[in-house]
Symmetry: C2
Amino acid sequence: METKAPPPLASGPCRCQQRIRRTLDLIANKWAVPVILELSRAKGPLRFTALARAIAGITQKELTKQLRELEGAGLVTRHVYAVVPPKVEYALTPLGASLKPVLDALAGWASDHGDRIAANEAAFSGVPT
Amino acid sequence: METKAPPPLASGPCRCQQRIRRTLDLIANKWAVPVILELSRAKGPLRFTALARAIAGITQKELTKQLRELEGAGLVTRHVYAVVPPKVEYALTPLGASLKPVLDALAGWASDHGDRIAANEAAFSGVPT
DNA sequence: CGGAATCCCTTACGATACTG
DNA sequence: CAGTATCGTAAGGGATTCCG
């Protein structure tokens, strides 16, 4: 029974959710944030290996894939030097850099409530009965 | 899936990245944002089916899983009524509600740059060579 | 009504090895 | 140095069915 008049939601609550999800898909890729933050910290181009070394635990495969995706989204530039020892440098585009405030907002919230969430999850899992 | 394998994320020189990733893992689950936003819009408890109907495309399985996770994180409350036709209501906790500004920041960024990103991706994919 | 259980497919991720 | 290729595993996610 429709107790309340159903809002004229065409095929969902609102379209903006899709947008958020789209953005989320970009940065939810496990290594996307570390890559972006690392490039952001560098304040300049970084070589592939430098990036790989800065981000502990990442594999070449994942780093490559991540960089491709970010490049495709226009958040990162890829500069290939035609030299004998191959040299490729990556850097954030202004668009990519513009994501930093958002990540900061996220980081801020995480800092504020991360402990509580962790505690909640621990309690939720360890609840006896 | 009892004990969550603690990922030895030692990525990067700063710990804040872990926090962000943790938060990201919470909201990156494809349906987390729609669920949170829907509960946020409702400004009150919603029944399982009401939630399911409000979020087009979601399955019971996914909705249940998502609600469990959000409940575990303490972002959502689950109230079970012991009545003949089962009745369960979900609502945002203050903690869950506090996530809204962050989602708004994300939504704002997505609104501002979503088109450009989509265009970039299209061009990146469709580029012949 | 709410949700747990099952089946099955697709994607994500990690490790190793090989090449321009 | 900077990838690409291949393999195997794990997790995500949709559809259906059954049960309190």
